[in-house]
């Protein structure tokens, strides 16, 4: 009992940035930011705590459990940019139609093999590895995708590493052999699709003017009927002004996807498509409405796989707390077609994020400097934000191009997820008893 009393008493002393109050249904909760611990509070105590804090009587002492000791990460996940060109010309594409601002290039199988060898060589025994194929459109380099997959499977098996694969594709170029490959090896296939035909083709167009939606549906047919990959997910991009996310979600689930994730356009060559700060608020509002619909379904005992929401819920359940927004530059790097390493797939050919190459190896000095610079406690305004260990500071790519103008929206979204977690874990605790085990690139 005394441990509990100590904890309760200590809440009064917490620095405002280390504690976050929220409510769900008719319960009161608190998030202890340091380790993302969530507690239910009884009503009287909540009232007293809030009054105390409103009077500014909180402590100045910052408890720091995440220290500044540099991590020495080993890379376990790598993405190969196997084709920097693309058969589509989607208006918002950050990859500038796969060009990344330079002449299009295709990765050679030799480079791919070297990257895979390097990945295996630097991993600790038995680690699970992930190899991803990105682009442009990776299926434009079909031969490499096939060869590299088989090569990586064999080499990883010999070295005693479980390995899985991922690919992000527009699904317009798939063949039966591709579907077989994605089935025979553990593949997480992410298809870029924005909604129904109209929504999809508003921004996603083929260069030759044909219907990309029709081709996509054919491709999906191959994937779902010739043996499904381990995971088939939809990645839907939401541009400024796009609404009705719940309908899009339902449409995509009906198309046969295991899960759907929404991604707002934050950086694109055509700036009117980016979500301005006002639209970011709108996007968040739409996402919350969509997620509310999903929440209702979950409460009714139905499945509804909005990955943004479900991933957040599980991370909150596990109490994930980390000082980085992702594994980029730590356990994950991206290799360009010529074999140069970058912090992530969005930062290909960005010199500030170069981390070495397959020929010279990972530049651990640059890696450490990157992690040092990007630690969330050293960012402004992050160090004073209650959401910092859930958010991690925001996507490196977005923050560098656009700055941090979405913080309010992120906090709103996370608060919504916290409330939802509290409610769902009360009424549907069985949702949280199995651990999600997928690797996301």
């Amino acid at each position: 009992m005394s441990a509990e009393v100590d904890l309760a008493a200590s809440l009064f002393d917490r620095h405002p940035a280390d504690l976050h109050r929220f409510a769900s249904g008719n319960r009161q909760h608190v998030l202890l930011v340091e380790r993302s611990e969530i507690y239910d509070l009884d009503d009287d105590f909540a009232v007293r705590l809030d009054a105390h804090r409103a009077l500014g009587l909180t402590g100045a002492h910052r408890r720091v459990r995440i220290d500044d000791a540099p991590v020495n990460p080993r890379i376990y996940s790598i993405s190969l940019n196997v084709a920097q060109s693309c058969n589509m010309s989607c208006s918002y594409c950050y990859a500038d139609e796969g060009r990344f601002g330079t002449a299009p290039r295709v990765m050679s199988i030799a480079t791919a093999r070297s990257v895979i060898d390097a990945l295996i060589a630097q991993s600790l025994p038995g680690t699970r590895l992930v190899v991803g194929f990105m682009g442009g459109e990776p299926m434009l380099n079909r031969a490499l995708v096939h060869e590299a997959t088989i090569y990586a499977s064999n080499e990883a098996a010999r070295a005693g590493h479980p390995i899985s694969f991922s690919i992000t594709t527009n699904a317009t170029l798939l063949t039966p052999a591709d579907a077989r490959l994605f089935h025979d090896h553990p593949f997480a296939v992410s298809v870029s699709v924005d909604g129904d035909r109209a929504e999809h083709e508003r921004h996603r167009r083929l260069r030759n003017g044909r219907s990309s939606y029709a081709l996509l549906v054919e491709g999906l047919g191959l994937l779902t009927m010739r043996g499904r990959p381990t995971l088939l997910s939809a990645r839907a991009t939401v541009a400024a002004g796009d609404t009705n996310l719940l309908e899009r979600l339902e449409h995509l689930v009906a198309l046969g996807f295991d899960e759907v994730g929404f991604s707002p356009v934050r950086v694109s060559p055509t700036s009117e498509l980016e979500n301005s700060e006002f639209s970011t608020e709108q996007f968040t509002q739409r996402m919350i409405e969509c997620a509310q619909g999903v929440r209702e379904r979950l409460l009714r005992g139905q499945n509804c796989a909005l990955s943004n929401f479900l991933t957040a819920l599980h991370q909150i359940h596990f109490g994930t707390h980390r000082p980085y927004p992702c594994g980029g530059g730590a356990s994950y790097v991206s290799a360009s077609a010529s074999g140069d390493y970058y912090t992530c797939h969005r930062l290909i050919n960005d010199g500030a994020h170069a981390l070495g190459s397959v020929h010279s190896g990972i530049d651990t000095g640059r890696q450490h400097r990157h992690l040092d610079r990007k630690h969330v406690d050293r960012q402004t305004p992050c160090s004073a934000c209650w959401a910092r260990y859930l958010c991690g500071g925001g996507c490196y790519h977005e923050v560098e191009r656009r700055g941090r103008d979405g913080c309010n929206a992120i906090r709103r979204w996370l608060n919504f997820c916290l409330e939802s977690y509290a409610e769902l874990s009360t009424r549907r605790p069985e949702l949280f008893t199995t651990a999600p085990g997928r690797n996301h690139p």
């Binding site: 009992m1 904890l7 909760h29 611990e37 969530i38 507690y39 239910d40 509070l41 009884d42 707390h321």
Partner: protein, 636 residues
């Protein structure tokens, strides 16, 4: 733990990990408990649903059905006349004929699955179900309204459509009634909401009307409650006591076997109410009970009430009361030289004893002439097995004593003592080493030698070890590996106590037999394996050579140290086995085994190298196989 005083409740995993509620073990949460119901490892699930209906407590073990065990005071029920006073047996003495007949659940109306229509919940008729069956249904009930009917003769109601509709009506109207039906006796219909077993914090609800301490485990077997004998599954998470028998009358019985037979009865079936079930397996369960001579043992209530009066058993000896331990005076502690000298002596004594035991073994008339149908032969075999095992043990002690010497940095010894310590005071404190048949006299001598010393007078073999142990224990700083040495010495002492008991068993097994009946006689039988005297001579010579080679191998092996010498020690053991085979050939041919130390003493005296020893063993091997062929017994 209810909500009083609780301000924080950890919700997610990091909060739970950080927030440890002191005092509640992990197993206080049902979802982390390991439970079964026959009888249960942590708690008995049936005790949870015993309170499924608020105001009533049920018992599920009766074969006739789920029986009402307690009725709470309740105004509504009181006004109906449904009270414990009238319907349940009183505590305290009452004539059996006065006790009211037990009340059982006749039927239950309530949902067990979400898909069922709440307006039309299913009815379960319990008329011919055993209590456990009713329980298995009750545990599926949703925490909603349920309606139950109680009666004394559940099987007399016929569950037809009209009855079902009427019960459903009672469920819908939430009506309650209690009446005395002329034919069926008291019938009660009660409505209620199935209890929540857990409170808001997710632990067992101990609030008013809820569970009380001990509720969940009250039907479990505990080792000291002695009802594991009735357990059908033979799995016990903790050690349980041996059978306790009254001193004079009962014979100790191996509870898995009938005495005198090799078979074991089939395991008793799991029963919830033994008198009601008559099956083949149960019949043998009862037979098992009879086997155990129930009268002479403490019966179960006696043991539960008086277990604390049983005397303590220390070191295998049951004390009649308490006794103050004898303390050594501290005088006469051995120093390093003293210990080395004693270890050397005792190693040689072990060598001498092992030879005496082997010789005694060969003197027995084995194998039994009539096989398993020869009752005397079987007894001799049992005695022989004991003696042989002791000989092996002494061989091990011989080796350990030498290893102890090595650890103390002292020279080892493979010599054989000429005199064996006795338990008697000087001048008879030793007796001569003697190759003697296992006559009753020799047996008594051996028993005496293994007797545990009763005080620290240092008499007997055990006395020497005790002296060594005392000296090690009392001077911990004097010896580098004192603790390790003491452990080995203690082990030898314990095994010595074991030998004593074994020898007493041998005595018991051979008691009443004449020596001609169990000892080999001089004249060889027609079936002697070695026909010619020449072969016998060869065999005797081989036996001696094996013996010497064995000693030589040990000598060199001990000299090389514990690790390096292992290979040679193994060879020594092999040569012992070969010697044993040859000795059997000699003994069964009616001749005597000399265990002479002189043959091949050249090996020992000259401190042969391991190569020379191995080579000698290989030669012997070859001769052995030839001899064995002639005897018609191929060497293994």
């Amino acid at each position: 733990m209810n909500d009083q005083g609780r301000k924080l409740f950890p919700r997610n995993l990091t909060a739970r990990a950080a927030h440890f509620v002191t005092g509640n073990p992990i197993s206080s949460r049902p979802e982390s408990g390991v439970d079964t119901s026959a009888p249960g490892l942590e708690f008995d699930q049936r005790n949870i649903e015993a309170l499924f209906f608020p105001g009533l407590r049920f018992e599920f073990h009766p074969a006739r059905g789920a029986r009402v065990a307690a009725i709470e005071q309740n105004d509504a029920w009181q006004s109906l006349g449904f009270t414990a006073d009238r319907l349940l047996p009183h505590d305290g003495p009452a004539a059996a004929s006065d006790a009211p007949p037990p009340l059982y659940i006749v039927c239950i109306v309530g949902r067990t699955a979400l898909e069922q229509d709440p307006a039309n919940p299913p009815l379960l008729y319990c008329g011919r179900m055993a209590g456990v069956e009713v329980w298995s249904h009750i545990r599926l009930l949703l925490d909603e309204r349920v309606t139950i009917m109680l009666g004394t003769h559940p099987e007399t109601l016929s569950p037809n459509g009209a009855f079902a509709r009427w019960m459903l009506g009672c469920h819908r109207n939430q009506s309650m009634s209690f009446e005395q039906d002329p034919r069926m006796g008291p019938i009660a219909i009660l409505n209620g909401t199935r209890r929540h077993y857990l409170d808001e914090a997710g632990v067992i609800d101990t609030g008013p009307g809820g569970f009380v301490a001990g509720d969940l485990t009250r039907t479990m077997c505990n080792p000291w409650q002695y009802d594991f004998r009735e357990c059908g599954c033979f799995y016990w998470a903790s050690n349980r006591p041996d059978l306790v028998t009254a001193p004079q009358t009962a014979t100790a019985t191996n509870w898995l076997r009938r005495p005198g037979s090799e078979e074991s009865p089939p395991p008793p079936s799991v029963t919830t109410d033994p008198p009601d079930l008559l099956s083949g397996a149960l019949a043998s369960h009862q037979a098992l009970m009879r086997l155990w001579d129930m009268d002479a043992e403490r019966d179960v209530p006696d043991l539960v009430s008086n277990w604390h009066r049983l005397p303590l058993v220390i070191d295998g000896i049951e004390g009649a009361g308490t006794a103050a331990p004898t303390r050594g005076t501290g005088a006469g502690l051995l120093d390093r030289e003293g210990i080395i000298s004693k270890l050397t002596q005792v190693a040689q004594v072990e060598h001498a004893l092992l030879v005496e035991y082997l010789y005694a073994y060969y003197s027995l008339r084995l194998p039994p002439a009539g096989g398993r149908d020869d009752p005397i032969g079987v007894r001799v075999k049992v005695a022989g097995d004991f003696i042989y095992r002791i000989a092996i043990d002494e061989m091990r002690h011989f080796r350990w004593a030498n290893e102890l010497l090595e650890r103390m940095g002292a020279p080892h010894t493979v010599g054989r003592a000429a005199r064996i310590p006795n338990m008697d005071l000087p001048p008879d404190s030793t007796r001569p080493f003697e190759l003697s048949q296992l006559t009753h006299t020799q047996l008594a001598r051996l028993i005496r030698a293994e007797q545990a010393s009763q005080s620290d007078d240092g008499l007997g073999v055990d006395g020497i070890y005790v002296e060594i142990l005392r000296s090690l224990a009392a001077q911990p700083t004097l010896f580098e590996q004192g603790r390790r040495l003491a452990e080995v010495v203690k082990l030898i002492i314990d095994e010595g106590a074991d030998h004593h008991r074994s020898l007493q068993s041998v005595e018991a097994v051979l008691s009443g037999l004449r020596e001609e009946e169990f000892l080999r006689n001089e004249a060889p039988a027609q079936t002697a394996p070695l026909r010619s005297l020449a072969d016998v001579d060869v065999a005797i010579d081989m036996s001696n050579q094996y013996y010497s080679a064995f000693l030589a191998a040990l000598d060199v092996g001990f000299g090389q140290g514990y690790v390096a010498g292992r290979g040679l020690i193994r060879q020594a053991i092999r040569s012992m086995r070969n010697m044993h085979e040859v000795n059997l050939l000699v003994a069964q041919s009616g001749a005597d085994i000399p265990f002479a130390l002189t043959a091949s003493a050249d090996l020992v005296r000259s401190r042969a190298t391991s190569g020379e020893v191995s080579s000698r063993l290989r030669d012997l091997d070859y001769q052995h196989s030839q001899l064995a062929e002639r005897a018609g017994r191929p060497a293994s």
